[in-house]
Structure formats: C-alpha cells, structure tokens
C-alpha cells in the first residue's frame, strides 16, 4: 500500500519467515488433502462440518468487528479512533481472506467454486454469504487504501469515499447476520435453530474482535513504537465489556429456553457441550475453560484499577479472545451436529493434517495483517513527523 | 513507456516464444484416425458436426437427463437415441480406441469416466 520502502529489521523478517514456514507446511497439508480427499479430516457422515467451518464462522466475526472502530469514528466523530481505524479495516481484510480460504479448503470440489455464481441461487444463504463477504473485502480494501493514501499525501480523503464508509457499517452487520442465517434456518439442528443466533454472533464478534484489536494495539506500541492512545484503548475496552456481557447474557438465554422448556432436542447439544451426553463429552473441559476465562476476564475488566493497567488489560483481552474462540471456533459448529439426526452421539476429533491446514490459514492471515500494519504504521508515522 | 525496458523486454520476448512453442515447432504427431465402428453406418449426427460439437451435445444431454427427465434425443435426421454416453456412444465406439486417442492428441483431459463406467473394462 505504501511507497515507502520497508526497512529491513531482523525481528520483522524472522516473523515473516516463520509465518512463511507455517504457510508452507499448511500448503503441503492441503496438497495432501487434495490428493487423498477430506477423509484426512476428522469430519464424517455425522459431524460433516468441522474445524474449517468453525474457524470460518469465528473469523467472520473478527472481520465484522472493524465496524466497532468505523462506527464511533465516522458516525459519532469519536476522534481518538483516528489513529487506529485503519488498523480495524486492515484486520477485517486479513480476516475475510481467512474466511474465504477456510470455505475453500472445506469444499469437496474446490475447482467448482464458481458454480456458486454460475448457478446463483438466491434461496441459498451460502450464496448471500458469498456476496456479502466478497463485498466486505472490496469495501475494506477501498476504505483503508483511500484513507491511507490521502494521509500519505497529506490531503483530506476524497468526498466519494464517505458513502462507501457509511455503507461499510450496515455491511459489517450483514456479514455476520448472514453467517448466522447459514445455521439458524436449518430444521432439526436445534442448537442453531434460534432467533438470537445472529445477535449472539454479533455480540461475541464485538467482544472478540476489539479484544484482538487491543492486543494488536499494545503489540504495535511495543514493537513499532506506535501508540493508539489511552482514550482509544479505553473506549475499545468499554466496547469489549458491553459486548462480552451481551454475549454471556445471550448464552444464558439459550440455557433458560432449553432447560426451562425441558424440550429434549433443545437441551441435547447444550448438555453435550457442558455436561456430556450418553457418556461422551470431549468438549466439556473446553467449554468450562471457555466459560471461566470469559467470565473471569469480564469480571476483572469491570474494575477501573485493573483494566487501566496495560499488562492486565492484555491478559484479560487474551483470555476473553480465547474464551470466545473456543465457544464459537470449536463448540458451536461441532455441537450443532451432536447428537446426529438419529439421536446418536458421534464425536469429532480433529486430525493433524486438518490442524496443519488451519494453522497455515491463520499464518496467511497473520502475514497479510503484518504487511498491511507495517505499511499503515509507516505512513502514519511519516505523516505525524 | 516501459519500466526498466532493458531487462523487461528480453524476458517478455522469451516468455512469448516459450508460450507459443507448440504452435511454431510443427507437430510431428499424426492426427489420429480412429476406426469406424462396424455397428452403425452413421453417428448420432454427422461426423464433422460431432467432431466439432460432441462436448456441447454431451453437456446438453447430461443436463437434460439429470435435470429435466428428457432421456431421448431426436437427431436432425429424425432418428431417436437414448441420451447416454455409456449406452449410446460407447455402444458403437470404444473408449480406448476412440475417446482416448483424440483426447491424448488434443491434450484435453477426459473427466467423464471418473464416474461413468467404461463397459470395456466392466463387462466380462
């Protein structure tokens, strides 16, 4: 994005080299999967979506969370986000690219992916997801690029970008809503068949995404000497707290409806996740770790003394991010298939090959993010000098 | 204006030369002449048309059979055929002698037989 040559520094290039290595391993694993088929994954007849689609769902949330910077900055004129709004947009770009990659590696016939366009099918939510995700990618590339270029030339951004930025706000909500609709409209998958799935997704996204942004802001402060500013971090923390509370409130609502109504099919998946079902409960420890980390992080974030301490803030944000990742990036997708339509509990166990591909895609995301952030920060700093 | 023309131009020319190699090197391979099947005097449509259009015809057939339940084809000569690669085409032609030879020559990968079965191999 920037004309400024990226100056070599050992730490940065070792990081890039490390990511390249992980990407290469992931690519090798993907070639293996292309050769032998998805039988190499833990997925099967009963749990037919696994870690790929779960990561996809989670990353859509991270992508959507950029709106938590764009909205206060552009709609409410919250100036303190001026320095980091582009970091949000660039995080969205990396996250959407990861989403698209996770969908492609999950496909049985990736070479036919364009059939989604060739035989466009408006009654399929996947079609709409394809549209909104690609649209969101384009919008964020455009907004981030135009704003940064203007800054580099020390001129105000062109007027035509304003409507695009405003469009990005409802668009961000749409990507996660449509992703929730992929799941929330399926008869017989009771964990997902809930009208609050979309708001729950948004709540967890607006907690997990800004948590990650806080971590990234603290990181660039340390490694690139680029300070987002106290007010920006404090505002982001407020967003994280409210969204996190909303998320756990929604989870509580799910529990109430399922267990107070006492309808077995509505309870089964939750029982499997948190207590085990038919003597099987591979995800039980994960879900309790997730609950403890999430509730614990939120509890300590409520106190000004603790959340104003940057070390502690980082710890709490990391805990909350991991908590929500377990909840959405593992539990929610897998347990939707458990029990299966025959009321049997058949579990899913991730395979090494699957993990390698997943890590490879995370590394691609990290690489894109690193390169974009480096460019953005170079421009920002040059401008400030 | 070409950026860094001294380096770029020769590489570009070399690229075009390599890319077009198959066209100007003059193929030594002979166009294959598959045997005329003994079973029928005429193909579904005439041979020249089939040579140019068999892929579109097969694509249309598979679409109509699977999606529209239209399983019989009336040729321009008014003859009626079953729309079937295995039961109609391969009833006269042999995959190994017919499909494979031309496709190897044209270097076009055949995917039909990843699913559809070649009766030569299956039937005793």
């Amino acid at each position: 994005m920037s004309n400024t040559p990226i100056k070599g520094n050992v730490a940065y290039y070792s990081w890039v080299g490390f990511l390249a290595l992980v990407i290469a391993l992931g690519f090798a694993a993907y070639l293996r999967q292309l050769d032998q088929g998805l039988t190499l994954t833990g997925m099967g007849r009963d749990v037919s979506w696994g870690v790929y689609i779960a990561q996809f769902t989670f990353m859509v949330g991270v992508a959507a969370s950029a709106v938590m910077l764009v909205l206060p900055y552009y709609l409410h004129d919250f100036k303190h986000f001026g320095r980091i709004v582009v970091l949000g947009e660039f995080l969205a770009i990396a996250a959407v690219v990861m989403c698209l990659l996770f969908v492609v590696v999950d496909m049985g016939k990736p070479m036919r992916v364009l059939n989604v366009i060739l035989y466009a099918t408006p009654h399929s939510m996947l079609f709409w997801d394809f549209i909104v995700l690609n649209g969101y990618l384009v919008i964020n590339i455009l907004c981030g690029h135009v704003a940064l270029t203007a800054e580099k030339k020390s001129v105000p951004p062109p007027a035509w970008i304003k409507p695009v930025i405003y469009l990005s706000i409802p668009w961000a909500f749409s990507i996660h809503t449509v992703t929730a609709f992929l799941l929330a409209g399926l008869p017989g998958r009771h964990l997902w068949l809930t009208a609050i799935l979309a708001p729950r997704f948004l709540a967890s996204a607006f907690a997990a995404g800004p948590s990650l942004l806080i971590l990234l802001a603290l990181l660039v402060k340390k490694v690139a000497n680029f300070d987002a500013g106290k007010e920006a971090l404090s505002k982001l923390t407020t967003i994280v707290i409210y969204a996190g509370l909303a998320n756990f409130f929604f989870v509580g609502l799910e529990f109430f409806t399922a267990f107070y109504s006492n309808i077995p099919s509505h309870m089964h998946s939750l029982q499997y996740l948190y207590f085990g079902l038919d003597g099987k409960g591979a995800l039980v420890p994960f879900m309790w770790v997730s609950t403890l980390l999430g509730v614990g992080a939120l509890f300590f974030l409520l106190f000004p003394q603790t959340r104003k301490n940057e070390k502690f803030l980082a710890l709490a944000c990391a805990a909350l991010f991991i908590s929500l990742w377990i909840d959405k990036g593992i539990g929610l997708i897998l347990a939707g298939f458990i029990p299966n339509p025959f009321d049997e509990v058949i579990e899913y166990a991730v395979t090494a090959n699957e993990v390698a591909i997943t890590l490879g895609i995370w590394a691609i995301g990290a690489l894109i993010l690193s390169m974009l952030y480096r460019a953005a920060i170079t421009v920002k700093k040059a401008w400030e000098d | 204006m070409i950026y860094n023309a001294k380096v770029v131009l020769p590489i570009l020319i070399l690229f075009v030369v390599v890319l077009t190699y198959p066209f100007w090197q003059g193929g030594t391979e002979q166009r294959p002449e598959p045997q005329k099947p003994a079973k029928a005097a005429q193909c579904v449509e005439d041979a020249a048309w089939m040579r140019a259009n068999h892929m579109q015809l097969l694509d249309r057939w598979r679409h109509e059979v699977v999606r529209k339940q239209e399983r019989s084809y009336t040729s321009t000569r008014g003859q009626v055929f079953e729309k079937s690669l295995v039961n109609t085409c391969l009833d006269c032609h042999q995959k190994s002698d017919f499909c494979d030879k031309c496709h190897a020559y044209a270097s076009v990968k055949l995917v039909c037989f990843n699913c559809h079965l070649n009766p030569e191999l299956v039937e005793p």
């Binding site: 059939n115 099918t121 998958r189 | 950026y3 295995v86 079965l117």
Partner: protein, 257 residues
C-alpha cells in the same frame, strides 16, 4: 513500489471487481427463472411416494439394501466415518426420535426400520444448496446433479434425517464390483437415495420395492387417489419421520397392520 505499477495494480483490481459484478448481475436475472421452474414447480399429476410396512420385513434380510447398493455402485468403506448409505436399517428408537420411547412393546425400541431419503415435499436440502445441485423434480423426487455439486455439505447440515452421505474418499477404492448401467461418484460430492429416478423414467419401480419378496415396500403416486399406495394409506394407520419440522416426507411407515 513505483507510481505507475501501483496504478496498474489498482486498475486491474478494480476491473476484476467490476467484471465479476457485471457477470453476477447477468447470471442473477437469468438463473432466477430456472430456479423457479426447477425448484418451485409443485407436482401437477405425480408425486412419488413410498409406504414401508415393517411388520412384513424378515429379520436379518437385507435384500433391498444389497440390490440398491450394488446396482447404484455404493461403496463399502468399512468404517462409520466415511460410510455411504442410500437405504439401510436402523433401530426404531433412532428412526423415530420424537416418538414416545417409554413403556413400548417388548423389543420395539430396537426393532430395525428401513430408512432412506424421504423425498420431502418441502426439502430443506434443496433450499440450502447454493448451486441447485440438489433439486426437486416436478414428480417429487429430490435428485442430485453430481456434475454440479461443489461438496460444501450444506445439504447434509440441512437434512434432518441423516439421509445424505459425502464421498470423503474415492468411492472406486472400495467397489469390488461395478455396475456399468449406473455411474459411480467422484470423491468430493454428496449422494443419497434417488428413488431410482433412472428406472422411474423408464416406467419401472424402484429396485428396493422390486427386490423385496415380502411386500414390505409399496411404491406409487401419492397424487392419484386410485393408486395402490393411496388405498393402503387410506386403510392403514401410518406415520412419517419428524413431521413437526414441516418437511412433508414422502415415505410413510405402517404403524399397525
């Protein structure tokens, strides 16, 4: 990066986005029309359906399963994870999950019931498929177009009956005998029972119905009040799987003879 190269990349990127938007708009209007004819057409004269009377089924007999799977080249991978099934037997308690499981007749819960694709009148799999690779024929058969399937497995998440299988591995690895009259599948596509659409189009009945010597299966046109299947449905008490989901299955089970 030089200024002109940057311009070039921007223009190419913008051009690609524009082109795909244009082609999408074109496709959108074009395919909506086919979506209407292919999916929404409700049967005027024919809706194929099946009645299964398990009281007639012999214990341990798998004739229908054998014939179906061998004639449709359904492989046996020998493990539950990769398993592919078109028609099979499963215990009553697993097939009828929403029916009462308490105080049932001796042995009822474990009694095997035949199960297969229900060829729903309102099929969720068809609703969710992003390419119309699975679609409802005007005669009610929910059909797969293996040429088109992208292997996203959305239909498997959508099907509340567990009737769909995915080819996690190459099916030909584990097919000892091949039937040339029906294609195999390729790795990476979803498959399921097709009510023997290839035979129905020739005026024949499904293989499972033909193979059963006990007369467990009755197949026919649900929209014809004089058909054998409608007479049977008029005489016997029957039920369908998970009717509360609004899928309107076309497979009925006789409750009592």
């Amino acid at each position: 990066m030089s200024e002109s190269r940057r311009k070039f990349i921007q223009q190419v990127g913008g051009g690609l986005v524009g082109l795909s938007a244009i082609s999408l708009l074109g496709k959108f209007t074009e395919v909506e029309a086919t979506a209407n004819t292919e999916v929404k057409d409700k049967p005027a004269q024919i809706r194929w359906g099946m009645v299964v009377d398990m009281s007639k089924c012999k214990e341990g007999c798998t004739d229908c399963v054998q014939v179906c799977h061998s004639r449709h080249n359904v492989p046996d991978h020998g493990n539950a994870k990769d398993e592919i099934k078109w028609i099979w037997k499963a215990p009553y308690k697993n097939v009828f999950t929403s029916k009462s499981h308490r105080y049932q007749q001796q042995g009822q819960l474990e009694k095997p019931f035949l199960t297969l694709c229900n060829h729903c009148d309102e099929p969720p799999c068809v609703r969710v498929c992003p390419t119309q690779a699975t679609f409802r024929r005007p005669d009610g058969i929910v059909q797969m177009d293996f040429h088109r399937c992208i292997g996203c497995r959305f239909c498997m998440a959508g099907c509340p009956y567990g009737s769909r299988s995915f080819n996690w591995r190459d099916p030909r690895e584990n097919l000892k005998q091949l039937d040339p009259h029906f294609p195999t599948r390729e790795r990476g596509v979803v498959e399921k029972c097709n009510f023997c659409a290839e035979r129905i189009d020739q005026g024949l009945n499904p293989l499972c119905q033909e193979a059963c010597k006990e007369g467990v299966i009755t197949f026919g046109n649900l929209n014809d009040p004089n058909s054998e299947i409608r007479k049977l449905l008029g005489e016997k008490r029957t039920m369908q799987r998970k009717t509360e989901l609004g899928t309107a299955p076309s497979v009925f089970y006789v409750v009592e003879s």
